[in-house]
């Protein structure tokens, strides 16, 4: 029972680590996937945008869009307005015709495209999270939207409205947040990129390939530190649980330790037994934590499929395991050394 409880408690920080890492990976992969779905080759962001998680408000003059479209080799440019709602969710204002041309359009699961100013498209994950269906009213940004269609997730955004309507609501008429550019031929992406950077030095202009590569945990401020903190908590919990558990085990087995000593077991042998048991608890906790991380993913996908995505990241299993085993070994050292130092006569007399 003691061992089972220890494994359970050790499994908790492993679950925490794997859930955090899984959420980071899942949400970035989802964002990456949706960016890829736009079909653009180049992205131009406002000068205040600092990272993939920093979504700037509309700061680029909309007039840039036709200007960019006049550049050689530019097939199409599309201005998009971003309005954050509940992070990481955002409503995007787009030109539906341009979006269809650039990306091939949304795949409609039900309903139809934007037809009226109050129409909003939601993706299937958001619809599931908010229990929405076509014809429902959705209140966002102090505005009552009419759910016109439900689209398959994986393109652009979860919430899409008409650009002009969103500009009006945001008091940002004539401004966009991002401009996506499609080039006539892939060979010309670098040529267009260089030209845009030269002509518009105050904006952040990158290829979509580079932009999408920025969607990794190392690029997000604080994530690495946060992961380290959670891992440290894992070590501390693993240490405390194993220390307590093995201390109890040593107390319960004092007589057995005395027996082993009477048979000639060395201090190293006794310490080895205690460490081996602690490592076994650590391995058990790791396996349980991995199983629990699947439960976390199921829970997240069931409760908040649109807001949070969690991926299973097997590459982190050995990392979480090593963190746990480190904590467990550390926790077993004191009880192990205490057991190894037991006086055999006193241990044999222990009732």
């Amino acid at each position: 029972m003691r061992s089972l409880l220890s494994v359970l408690l050790i499994g908790v920080p492993v679950t925490l680590i794997l859930t955090l890492v899984g959420m980071t990976h899942g949400m970035l992969e989802d964002s990456q996937h949706r960016q890829e779905g736009i079909g653009a080759d180049i992205i131009m962001r406002g000068s205040t945008s600092t990272s993939v998680m920093t979504l700037s408000g509309p700061s680029i003059p909309e007039a840039m869009v036709p200007r960019i479209e006049q550049e050689p080799h530019v097939a199409e440019a599309m201005g998009v307005v971003v309005h954050n709602v509940d992070l990481p969710l955002a409503v995007l204002g787009i030109d539906m015709a341009k979006f269809n041309q650039m990306s091939g359009g949304f795949k409609f699961l039900s309903g139809h495209t934007l037809q009226n100013p109050d129409d909003i498209l939601v993706d299937d994950l958001y619809a599931a999270q908010r229990h929405l269906k076509v014809g429902d009213t959705l209140n966002l940004i102090n505005h009552a939207w009419h759910v016109a269609g439900i689209v398959a997730s994986g393109k652009m955004a979860r919430l899409v409205v008409d650009r002009k309507v969103l500009q009006t609501l945001d008091a940002a008429t004539g401004k966009v947040s991002t401009i996506y550019v499609k080039v006539d031929r892939p060979d010309n992406i670098d040529v267009v990129l260089d030209e845009l950077r030269r002509a518009l030095p105050n904006y952040k202009i990158d290829t979509m390939q580079y932009w999408i590569s920025m969607f990794n945990a190392g690029q997000i401020q604080g994530i690495r530190e946060f992961t380290v903190v959670v891992a440290a908590i894992g070590v501390v919990i693993g240490f405390a649980v194993v220390c307590l558990s093995m201390y109890m085990a040593v107390l319960q087995r004092t007589r057995e330790i005395g027996i082993l000593k009477s048979l000639g077991a060395s201090k190293g042998f006794i310490l080895g037994i205690i460490l081996a048991e602690a490592l076994l608890l650590g391995v058990g906790g790791t396996v349980l934590g991995i199983i629990f991380s699947f439960c976390s993913r199921w829970l997240i996908a069931t409760l908040v499929p649109a807001s949070i995505q969690m991926a299973i990241v097997p590459a982190w299993w050995p990392v979480a395991g090593l963190i746990t085993l480190f904590g467990a070994t550390l926790g077993a050292l004191y009880p192990g050394l205490s057991a190894a130092r037991h006086d055999p006569i006193e241990a044999l007399a222990y009732e």
């Binding site: 082993l260 048979l263 060395s266």
Partner: protein
Amino acid sequence: MNSGDIISTRDLRKIYRVGSVEVPALRGVDLNVKPGEFLSIVGPSGSGKSTLFHIIGGLTPPTSGEVHVGGENLAAMTDAGRTRMRRRTVGFVFQKFNLLPNLTARDNIAVARFIAGADGRPDAQFEEVLRVLGIAGRLDHKPNALSGGEQQRVAIARAIVNHPAILLADEPTGNLDTENSKAVLEILRDLNDRTGQTILMITHNPEAAAFGHYTVHMRDGKIIERT
């Protein structure tokens, strides 16, 4: 130490410290045991027989005096040295059997071999001993499924599996009924007769003591008589 003695003590003293109080347990014990002897040690509680047993078995060092076991001077040994000595020179049989409760009888015996660094199955001579002990059919049972007599026989098997020079038995019949006590004592005597195993046995029971070749009487931390 006389040549030929397997155990030899000279002016052996042991003082336990309880807080600031010193409690002498042995007050100068001189003892010589030759290989193959079966010696019974008797005496009232507090006479020092268990302390003598623990020192000869390398479980605790003496405070002063000499103690040679199997040609080694235990008084000069470190804790690690005494641990090594316990592995190969002595085997213990306790009143409370002291089997590891989660292991089968077979594994209890195997643990002693493992700790001693022996590998493989016990030798043919040991298999014969198991038959003599009458536990060959009970080896796959855990201690709680064995009777007291069976447990003590497993403990004897464990104590001699590495062929120690000396078998130390501390009240081996103290927790057994008359029938099982007699069986265990006969096993010890048989072991001594067949293999020449040196045995030191602590007992309160004069009838049990009579199974040995000699009896050493202790009182107040000293040997007062050898009969």
